[in-house]
Amino acid sequence: MIRRAVLIVLGLIWLGPTYLLLVNASRPADSYDPSRAWAPPGDFSLVTNFLRALDSADLGASLGSTALYSVVSPALGVLVGALAGYTIVVLRLRHGFWWFLLIFGGTVFPAQMLLVPLFVGYSDAGLYDSRLGMILIYTAINVPLAAFVLRNFYTGVAFSIFEAARMDGASTFRIFWRIYLPLSTSALAAVFILEFTFIWNDLIFGLTLTQTAEVRPVMTALAGLMTDVYAGTPVPVGLAAGLVVSLPTVVLFLATQRLFARGLSLGSV
């Protein structure tokens, strides 16, 4: 009984800001009053507010770019990482463990250690402020985790499957594409979800490597809107933007909690 009581009290505290977010994001933009923030909104204006944010901060273009980055990059990263894991484990690549260490070692660098060369190098190579550049770096960041998880996964798959397919004359790539990849759907999905969320929420690469609204990821654009919250954008408009932009990750996360947790704990060892 005490357990439930503690959980309920803590839960109510936690719901407070969530409630404020929902209520005030739905409030007509000009009727926000800090001292009456808890009151229910009169009219439901979430959509109007969001459209206003889309318009004033050019969020639409950023949203499109972010959707592109957070689908394409994890998909590519997971494929490339899975192929590497397959080659190392199943095809028994010579010095495979060292290849694996090389690839997995990429996770240890903090983003800060990459920013200056990426900025300078991208500027020289014409990749600064380009969608291609963003996809490249986001993909590279996904590869180590994907390789790690899929290498572990393929270690657990019976080698006789591979041998039987070879007997039937299948090429190594075909075996990867038709047998190993479908076998590992759950592991692939766990990594994909984790990386989708990471890229959707990324701030720092967007801040450093982009400039125009079309290329800039949405969180970076949103962070830019923040300064406007003080400088005239009504609070409900800012909140509506934050709420709608967070919906994809909220839904994905709530729908796949377990898989998500698995991905997280897999990636950390």
Binding site: P17, G105, Q112, V143, L225, S246
Partner: protein
């Protein structure tokens, strides 16, 4: 015979990682020993940037704030997360009790700032609710602690989730046996459950340790490290020295320090866990 393309298969991964992660890493390490503004060629200055770091008051502040972040993260999002997990993992409808903590997790740093800046602002909800007039994000170290609380609001859920997954997968027999022997509550947790969930705790603490050392997003969007640079973390200091002050060499030196600290902490931590 096993596929002539083996190196071709591993090449995309190796090239992406080498080209976009390792090469920049080495380049930054080199730049930390130069004076460089991004325009004129980098000029070799040896360890001068690191010498300058030693008596830079900004760096001292940012090390202090980073420490607050690390310690605070262990106590609040991780500690409280464990509490919520232990309280809820084996009761009926536990998932519903945990839902309030899960919702904020999917908000990004930028979304978080949008939610909390009207709460923490001068005429905001927090001041009204508490009946005070505090400048939550102004003075150090209060501003870092305020942001840490915001961070707790967001991060508690994921830690809880990880702990719950672990708690539900530990074997039932030892717990039943201990219950039969009359153990309950704190005793049961301390002597039976806690040792069984240790490997998982190691993962959660390790993740939180590394993430807290690299704290950037939330500080950047709520205070940009200010006012007067008093809420900067190492990651924010690096960004500002580089992209605001255009002192790429000095910024790179801060990045090197951050990397060494993160690496050292992970190493020491892992070594303790493995033993």
């Amino acid at each position: 015979m096993l596929g002539r393309f083996r190196y071709g298969y591993v090449a995309p991964a190796a090239l992406l990682v080498a080209g976009l992660l390792y090469a920049p890493f080495v380049w930054t390490a080199y730049l930390s020993l130069t004076r460089y503004d991004g325009l004129a060629p980098a000029e070799w200055v040896g360890p001068a940037n690191f010498v300058k770091l030693l008596d830079d008051p900004v760096l001292l502040t940012s090390v202090r704030n980073t420490l607050i972040w690390v310690i605070g993260t262990m106590v609040l999002p991780v500690g409280l997360g464990l509490l919520v997990a232990v309280l809820s993992y084996d009761i009926k409808g536990g998932g519903w009790y945990r839902l309030p903590f899960m919702l904020p997790y999917a908000l990004s740093g930028a979304g978080l700032a949008l939610v909390w800046s009207p709460i923490l602002s001068h005429d905001g909800v927090a001041n009204n609710l508490l009946g005070v007039d505090t400048a939550f994000l102004q003075e150090a170290p209060h501003n870092t602690i305020a942001m840490l609380l915001v961070w707790t609001w967001q991060q508690l859920g994921v830690n809880t989730l990880l702990f719950v997954v672990g708690l539900q997968s530990i074997p039932k027999e030892p717990i039943e046996a201990a219950r039969l022997d009359g153990a309950s509550g704190w005793q049961l947790f301390r002597h039976i459950i806690w040792p069984l969930m240790r490997p998982l705790t190691a993962v959660v603490v390790g993740l939180a340790l590394v993430a807290s050392l690299k704290t950037f997003d939330i500080v950047w969007v709520l205070t940009q490290g200010g006012p007067g640079r008093n809420s900067e973390t190492l990651a924010v200091t690096m960004y500002k020295e580089t992209f605001v002050a255009s002192d790429y060499g000095y910024g790179s030196a801060v990045a090197v320090v951050l990397t060494v600290v993160t690496g050292l902490a992970s190493y020491l931590y892992l070594r303790r866990q493995v033993r």
